[in-house]
Symmetry: C2
Subunit: 361 residues, 2 copies
Amino acid sequence: MSSRSDIAAGRASIFDVASRARVSPATVSRALRGAPNVSAATRERVAAAARELAYVASPAASRLASGRTTTIGIVVPFMDRWFFMRVVQGVEAVVRAAGYDLLLYNLGDMTGRERFFDRMPLQRKVDGVIMVDVAIQPGEQVQLQELGVPVTVVGGAALGVGTVGIDDAEGVRMAVRHLAHLGHRRIGMLCGQLADGLARDVPGQRRDSFHRAVAEAGLETSPEWVLIEPWGVAGGAAATERLLCARRLPTALLAESDEIAFGALRTLRLAGLDVPGRMSVMGFDDHDMAGIVNLTTIAQPVLEQGEIAATLLLEALQDRADPFARVTLPTRLVIRGSTAPPGSWAARPDDTAPAVDRATG
Amino acid sequence: MSSRSDIAAGRASIFDVASRARVSPATVSRALRGAPNVSAATRERVAAAARELAYVASPAASRLASGRTTTIGIVVPFMDRWFFMRVVQGVEAVVRAAGYDLLLYNLGDMTGRERFFDRMPLQRKVDGVIMVDVAIQPGEQVQLQELGVPVTVVGGAALGVGTVGIDDAEGVRMAVRHLAHLGHRRIGMLCGQLADGLARDVPGQRRDSFHRAVAEAGLETSPEWVLIEPWGVAGGAAATERLLCARRLPTALLAESDEIAFGALRTLRLAGLDVPGRMSVMGFDDHDMAGIVNLTTIAQPVLEQGEIAATLLLEALQDRADPFARVTLPTRLVIRGSTAPPGSWAARPDDTAPAVDRATG
DNA sequence: GTGAAAGCGCTAACAA
DNA sequence: TTGTTAGCGCTTTCAC
């Protein structure tokens, strides 16, 4: 039983509610959690008592007693990239609506990743976990299993877990085909370095698929046209700078991600190379900002991937679903202004380029 | 004591560790948590036993017994805006390094906000909470206090809590002065609507400061030059479209945020109005993408605000700091290519605008 | 449909 | 420095 002040502070215990409703604590527990075997009248009395005392069950106590945490964990490799936070957003909404809490864990870099798999900080803290685009290594998989909770992966394959993602290979193929249909025979690819050590599935997939798609389409290839630089805008810019030193230039560029494409666009503008007249550029993802810079891209449903992953996980927690389900979502070509047939370029004096593009920012 | 299989599954209890190390459970608890009053030898024996059994203390049990959760909660109004996720990133890093977990809560909209303050879902689940740019209403403040844990606010004022933010008024003043120094006499402002009902402090502050700064600088004003549309790129575009119907145009535009400025840039390009020749444009925040579109802006340290908020909160938890501390971080002008003296515009035929800007994306 | 009682696995006084 | 002893506040059999 709690003191008056505890009760006033909203720290009433289940005993307080029980005595107020003239039932046992067990009944309070059942009533409040919507368990069966409680008469409507009792349920109502308990609810009223709980309301009056502003009773909230101690999460720690019920977790200890029940073994359930009503919390799910989400693990992301980065927090400063649009894609991941968007997935988290989708997950958060679904998880929250189901009455679960969300524990966010950011790997950040290789050290962080090791620490994570080493100490498994989510241990006994969550009922399930969602991992976003981390290629789970064999050893890590063992650790994950030892968590003893269902795992769902977004954007990557893994054994013994549910999976949701897109067909990256197909997306890349769509991009290459679009460019080929426009008449491009020489297509370059801008990739983000994997050197952060955070093994992930998606980047490699896109890269490999590119080679296959180009071969399928019977296009020219050259090692000079595949550039690898650190991931992101700066990397895209750097890769494009390197590209511009090639013996022969491609007429189109596919970037592994929209952010990389943004960097490419910037470099091309600084260089005075008209997009898409002199160079077509495509991104991948359909980033929030892709519309702003008018980037043609392959869109994937990002929020939905988070929502589905969360739904899958939640269902697995209630034994209502295949915990190893695999969901593949469609990608789609979004045409904007950065692609056109090769050579659709009208000469124009440099100094008429908009000032906003001339500066060095 | 646990069964052999429990132990094998990493579910050893503190008793298992105790008997293996030939000490009492209490000593195990002390040793593992680094409490004082444990001899080095004992500490080592316990550590070894724990390691061998892969023992991890049950969070639920220690929370119940100690009353501490080693978890902090972060509440954001939106998850699809760069600023908020960047703050979360800063918070996550600091909190994680201190051995705490992070519970993420997204308000999303007015309904979500009400639900949050109504049910206080963080109740008894966290040792402290960080709220990002939510203007806490009087009633809500009471609820927050009933949480019984320290609260730190980022980007907004609140009573009885720690605060970290920037001087929005000063930032806006810097922007207006920069434009005035360039010779602009007519400056417009693009604002995001507050109609989402999620009362927040920052937007209003920037708006009010604009009027004051313009007055201070003795510039022209017109109600036509202050546009309010839904927040974001689309809103910025819409606001600019409305602006272009004004009797007389300003020569410069200050957007409440970079995202709004992005929308403005797009509309201006579609309209064929040269930036900065015909119209200077400034943003606020220094969004990741501001460099890409070459936007002059007022930068604020975003990650740092998260880091500082987390540090403050953590210190408050250890009674090592003023829980009502107020930290104000500096803003700074970042010159890029979207501002110039008014009228620094060279006429040019429409059809030479880069194709990427001509399309409708 | 409801109650009694035995934990869940720790931490924290207090003793030794 | 270490051990003993009570809880922490629920949930969950198992009776009734």
